[in-house]
């Protein structure tokens, strides 16, 4: 049996727990050796449940643990910058949830640190690991639709988050559309040159208090000549709705059907399939696949499939979108990859 990668997980909220569980039980070449969470008792509880030998309330205990090769940072976004820097300083390889940092300045700092130390860093854009998005990319690369010229993305959720969540969400462009910004770069294989964002509060009035919107629209142009529109909404009363389309010069690809179970009930009222209710139902496999890829790339000394630069670019677009919405102007971006 080959050697396993010893990992730690920082932050054991819903998503952190999943990453921990995947590393502990389902990713063959990983070993979950330490977990940390500031909430009293949480790390111990998870450690016991998943059979993890070390746990702590203090993330530094994990970050400085010399036995670990890699850490997954699933803490609040405001702490990402600091956590990444400490991890890098300790020579750890990194998985970090999106967005990579809270500000572009921080993103540049951590990119430089990562580059200097030569550690591996993967960012949590799990859609790239969803089988349908991955298949779409493959088909585009096979030339099935000619040259890609337009991406249309939809991210809608039906849950009403509490005001406190909205307050710290960074706004709808950063919280939701950032996934589509990354998907657009991924599927079009191009860099964004301009960002124009529009939006409104069409239902959930309480988000106004935080200068946020519940319905957003972003228009992007790309250095390849392609363009893109990306819609986000907190008002999908019917379920969790993630769809994408890529128009190419010779065809198009549509991703996502909303259907949950592969069955339909027929009555006089019509033929009904159930709808994907929430993001775990849709992306459970994608979360596992991204962690499998993280560990495999690490083991094989390959570059991560979504790196810190991708994390920074998506953040850059989201920041520009927010600013565009606020100012009513189109924001130009510098597309050149450093």
């Amino acid at each position: 049996m080959s050697k396993k990668i010893r990992c730690g997980v920082l932050g054991l909220g819903r998503l952190g727990y999943w990453h921990a569980e995947n590393l502990a039980r389902k990713v063959q070449d990983a070993e979950l050796a330490a977990v940390a969470d500031p909430l009293e008792g949480r790390a111990e509880q998870v450690a016991e449940e998943l059979g993890v030998p070390e746990w702590s309330q203090n993330p530094d205990d994990v970050l400085e643990n010399p036995d670990l090769e890699a850490v997954a940072i699933v803490t609040p976004t405001s702490t990402h910058g600091e956590m990444i820097k400490k991890a890098v300083a300790n020579g750890k390889h990194l998985f970090v949830e999106k967005p990579i940092t809270q500000t572009l300045q921080e993103a540049d700092e951590v990119l430089e640190a990562i580059r200097n130390r030569g550690v591996f860093c993967q960012v949590g854009f799990m859609r790239r690991f969803d089988l349908s998005y991955a298949e779409a990319k493959k088909r585009i690369e096979m030339g099935d639709i000619g040259k890609p010229i337009y991406f249309k993305g939809i991210t809608r959720d039906g849950q009403t988050p509490p005001p406190d969540f909205i307050k710290h969400s960074g706004g709808l462009y950063l919280d939701f559309s950032i996934h589509d910004y990354d998907a657009a770069r991924f599927l079009l294989g191009a860099e964004v040159t301009s960002v124009a964002a529009l939006g409104n509060v069409v239902e959930k009035q309480y988000v106004k208090e935080f200068h946020d919107v519940d319905q957003a629209l972003t228009y992007l142009t790309f250095d390849s000549g392609a363009a893109s529109d990306i819609e986000a909404s907190r008002n999908a009363a019917y379920g969790y709705d993630i769809r994408g389309e890529v128009i190419g010069t010779e065809g198009a690809i549509q991703i996502g059907s909303l259907q949950h179970h592969d069955l339909k009930v027929l009555t006089k009222k019509g033929g009904t399939h159930d709808i994907v209710p929430d993001f775990p139902s849709l992306f459970q496999d994608a979360y596992l696949n991204e962690m499998v890829s993280f560990i495999e790339c690490l083991k094989n000394n390959e570059k991560p499939l979504v790196d810190a630069y991708d994390g920074k670019k998506a953040l850059e677009i989201a920041v520009a979108a927010t600013k565009s919405y606020q100012t009513g102007t189109t924001i130009r971006l510098e597309p050149v990859r450093s």
Copy 2:
């Protein structure tokens, strides 16, 4: 403007009225010149509504009218044989609803009369003129699925007909499955060599009184080596459900989706499309198309796309199916086309 074919319609029930309306208003090269129905006042009422110059309670007035070139026979099945013979004797071209006659002996008689007189006769298997069935045939002929080796047909309706209808329906094999028997011959391009039928009363107990079933299954073999299963049901509480599949050596074709309007309503309960509610909703265009084809073939001296022989063969299979169900044995048929 080219000369129009002068037509008469016999029988003005629901289906007869449609044929009359199509001939009067929608089939460009037809002129509806006479209608007859035994129900007092019915022919006059329809004549007034559709602008038909002649009407009668007596079908002979139409059958013997020297100004008519063609008649559509939409009277009860028990009268088909007599009507066809009179029409042929008067040199009329013919459209006759399915089944062509009530008995195989009658069918042979009318086939001989038609052949001797050299008149044109089309039988009302309108599915052949439904765009989806017609497209399926075209795809098969283009070789899209290789050699066709299996046909699977479904005919389900959700309406509960009155006992008197069941009594005169001829049984489920003759009333429903005869459409799929014809579709099987049409799509497979082959003749039936054996018929085995099974069936049961699974819900509508009152059909037992007439020794009928509400759920039927027929298994056919063909001289090409192909086979087929054909299900019929009176128990589709959810709507009108017509589907077909042809398996070929290199692929398959599926016909029919049940969806009515091209929209879906999404709520927490699921994504719902409405279902085709009844046969007019599904086959309205097919009924028009078959009448257009009838008139066009007549005008152009071409053979009908579904002729009296097709009518007889479908009847033969339906009669054999009924007998197979009653006796529990497989019935062999003589496949050679005369």
Copy 3:
């Protein structure tokens, strides 16, 4: 038989011919009594084909014909204003293709003329008469999705029109998206308060010469608090793609599936349905239905389902969208219905 409405058709291009054919053959209570087209011989040819007693190269012969009650104006947009004014002056009821006029000033003039003379005027937004759009409206009014808060429209075509067509098209917002602007007003039941438009040339470089785009995006806000995004494209290599979605507070409705025939071919390469190839394939019935409604409303002294005001509002949005695209600013509209 009830009295028929005597109609004339002006302009016998592809669309004009359809309207003529529908009025001549398929709309029960209409009689096509006169046609005109400036192209030598065209009116006579169509008159002969459809059995129309009067024809002319000069539209005035139709507009001033005292025997006609109604005219359908299917001439180039640049002539709409003049044609409408003459028709109104002659007391004719009107069907006019979209856009109602070329400029907003003209639209105001014809609206005033129509109001003063009290004639009936229907504008050719045929999507309202498409069964799926009509059903969507009905479902929204039945409360199936709660209060409508967002409309998402797509109009994509795959055909590459000649440069001369682009030159006179009025631009993509006016040529394509105007249908969705009307659909948005129709389905949301609200008036537009602001228009922001973005766009680009992503494939068909030759449209740049005419300062046009081949991919457009419009963002609308409404006086009800709703919003909308509307995409248009000339780059759908795969077919003719018309879709709409309405998000409500309790659900959503999706219109359009792209599927043409109701069948699927299954091979090793996948399951394939054919795609709606062009607009006649999709909207043939809608064009007939709008003409049936035109004649029925006229006969019954009911208001048209899409009136001149609707025609003006859609034009107003399209003009604003074009200006917004050109100036990079959001255009405010006065939402109050006069």
Copy 4:
């Protein structure tokens, strides 16, 4: 951490390896402690790969290992009877692949042995653990379609197995349709009273040598008054096609859509989704779920969700179907559950 169930796996072919892998890595409360396979080196290789401490070429080493609580029997059908008896004699709990035994007599023997010793036995009808089939069952029990009155099952595969496989397959009724026989009992909640089977060789002539068919049809009646038709085919050139429908008195449920990835490629040739290529692609999760259920039920002292009696009943129907096909008669079954 709770105690794990120590398991052994007998037979390490493709399916045996999956069960082993699931028990070793994915089923939380299981521990794979021993594996056996008669092929030289196979057990050792798998043991090394999955970290299994004990392995052998001799199944008895596993069956008699006192440290094991449960064994999974994935050996050839002809050995099932003997393996089960030995396992029971050693007090092991059992998971056994379908069919439970090769003959009904053997089935009765092992049922008696299991009952006498009081061990737990689950049979590998994994469709019951497929999320769509399980959801269908739930919907039926919730009354969504009224009383179930008809089940329609399809099992089609496109692969051409080698002659030697056909020779030992037991025939198409036993090899394929047995899954639908079990699904019919499961979804209808009733016992079979009669079996009529038809079939033919429509493409793969070489199966004739083994008196087998490549296209089968079975008609079942049930003690609840329901009926069922079940088709099986080796000729699905397009992929792996598993579908089911249950008609109820108030509606119907359709299971299965053939679609693999949740995306569609649109080109001029149509809209194409890929088709489920093979059974691992469709039932991977079901195989895991059945093993999770096996271990959970064992731990919680609950009865298995598919027990030895279910295994025997499905075998009984398959044996009757084969006999019915051979004799051309309908076979009556004794429906009473002992």
